[in-house]
């Protein structure tokens, strides 16, 4: 297998882009990635997206986006693994280059959530779950998170404020992040005073609705030129139903993907300088920290609230604001994470820079932790 490098990255600001279409957003990110790489050579395209079939009634994004960026003729298709689509698509791109099937692969994620009214967006996000037995109850994706959130507080005797601190930390990190949707601080009091979204989860503990696109150009690693090396990518699945787990506070897919990635990259947790985790709500961020192995089960909320995930802490986490504050254009989110880790390793993160970042990890989570993609990057 060939080693793979990230030759270029590009992304849009995340916000409600009323005047831009899926194509407009995708083209903006892809062309920036070409410009960054200094080449537009590409022979395969993976488009990651979750909601276009539902929100825009749009499928066949592979051919659509290849045409949009002037690359008719190349192999192109969409990759979907709910909100883990971005991390999963990245892994497909890495496999294509590593195996020699392709030499230059563009992996681009795109999502336009703002085309749906709230009930449509909610129904779209719940499409990650079994429509006949899970979504059928009327539960939302945030509602499922709320079931584990309450159980986490009850089992470990953790205060609601400690879990909610995940959102406060994310917003602290987003300050100065040019592409973040919500680059400002939010106090714990404001989070706790926000309305209930799905009890006990407050509205300000949930990632909002945003549009965006992020893309990376992959090619075989060349030691002389390349600065960002893909040290590992892994993808694992876990129990599909919440009702069918030996422990509802453990995401087995995260554990498995993390174990594989750490082994394959041959790095330890203490070597991870930058971490991007999937905090679609605060509890998911906390459980992700635990199941990735950065903190013991039941201690994640305390780890966050005492400051160990801040930019100067033990494990700088969600350094541009995470899903909560950078934003969560679902199918593109995993690629934003990877672009952000790349920026950190290039020491180009501006006010969000973590000092001497050499190794970084991004975790992309689909459904209620039933798919997890983990990517480890290091400076070449």
């Amino acid at each position: 297998m060939r080693r793979v490098a990230i030759a270029g990255i590009g992304f849009t600001k995340i916000r409600e882009h009323w005047s831009k279409s899926l194509k407009d957003l995708f083209a903006e990110a892809a062309l920036k990635a070409f410009e960054d790489a200094g080449t537009d050579e590409v022979d395969a395209l993976y488009v990651s997206n979750m909601g276009a079939a539902s929100l825009q009634g749009q499928l066949h994004l592979g051919a659509m986006m290849a045409d949009t960026i002037g690359k008719r003729g190349i192999a192109a298709l969409r990759v979907e693994a709910a909100s883990a689509s971005g991390g999963a698509a990245f892994r497909e791109g890495v496999k294509a280059v590593a195996s020699g099937y392709s030499d230059c692969v563009l992996v681009g994620g795109v999502e336009k959530m703002s085309d749906g009214i709230p009930a449509e967006v909610s129904a779209t996000l719940a499409m990650s779950e079994d429509q006949e037995y899970t979504s059928y109850t009327g539960v939302t994706k945030i509602g499922l998170n709320a079931l584990i959130h309450r159980h986490y507080m009850e089992r470990f005797g953790v205060k609601a404020e400690d879990i909610a601190m995940f959102a406060v930390r994310s917003h602290e990190n987003a300050v100065g992040s040019p592409h973040a949707q919500y680059p400002f601080k939010v106090s714990i009091d404001r989070v706790m005073a926000s309305p209930m979204e799905a009890d006990p989860i407050h509205t300000l503990e949930c990632a909002g609705v945003g549009d965006g696109s992020a893309a990376v150009l992959l090619r075989p690693a060349d030691e002389a030129k390349d600065d960002i090396i893909v040290a590992a990518t892994s993808l694992a699945t876990g129990a599909y139903y919440l009702s069918d787990r030996s422990d509802i506070l453990t995401f087995e897919a995260v554990r498995q993907a993390a174990t594989q990635a750490f082994k394959s990259a041959d790095v330890s947790h203490s070597e991870i300088d930058v971490l991007e985790v999937h905090d679609d709500t605060t509890i998911t961020g906390v459980i992700s920290l635990e199941d990735l192995g950065f903190v013991e089960k039941g201690m994640g909320a305390e780890y966050v609230s005492r400051g160990d995930t801040t930019r100067g802490g033990e494990t700088p986490t969600n350094t541009f604001g995470g899903l909560k504050a950078r934003g969560n254009p679902v199918g593109a989110t995993g690629l934003y994470q990877i672009c952000e880790v790349a920026l950190q390793l290039r020491q180009e993160a501006g006010p969000c820079q973590v000092e001497d970042a050499n190794v970084g990890l991004a975790q992309s989570l689909g459904g209620l932790g039933s798919t997890c993609a983990v990517t480890i990057l290091r400076r070449g």
Partner: protein, 131 residues
């Protein structure tokens, strides 16, 4: 919602029927092709217990399409008395009165309407047991 898609599940959703592995006795809901415990493909219908205990719960305040007129409503993970967990709405109770550990029983209820001319969907929900 097509009619076959609806009636295909009615037997299981109306009567709370899952499956039991004939090899190892593991019980599953919903029904599945392969036993998760032992890998056997020999599973037979199993009627779930209709009484259980609330393991955890939430109140849905911003519902998905089709459920708007019921909001706010409660969704819980209920551990049935045979050990099987089911995800279900809990009805006939206000959110302020909900408690983890509460005893609940299955009830047959309307789930949603598929527009003004579509199917009216029914299925199980749970409600508190009145002692």
């Amino acid at each position: 919602m097509s009619v076959p898609r609806y009636w295909r599940e009615t037997r299981y959703r109306y009567r709370l029927i899952g499956e039991m592995c004939t090899e190892c006795g593991a019980i599953f809901f919903p029904r599945r092709a392969v036993c998760l415990k032992c890998g056997s493909v020999e599973l037979e219908e199993y009627k779930l217990k209709e009484i259980g205990t609330v393991a955890t719960w939430t109140t849905i305040r911003n519902p998905p399409e089709g459920y708007e007129k019921y909001a706010p409503y409660i969704v819980a993970l209920v551990e049935l008395d045979d050990g099987v967990m089911v995800l279900t709405q809990v009805v006939d109770i206000e959110p302020e009165e909900m408690k983890t550990g509460m005893r609940v029983e299955a009830a047959f209820r309307k789930v949603k309407e598929d527009g003004s001319s579509g199917i009216i969907e029914y299925g199980f929900k749970f409600r508190p047991i009145i002692e």
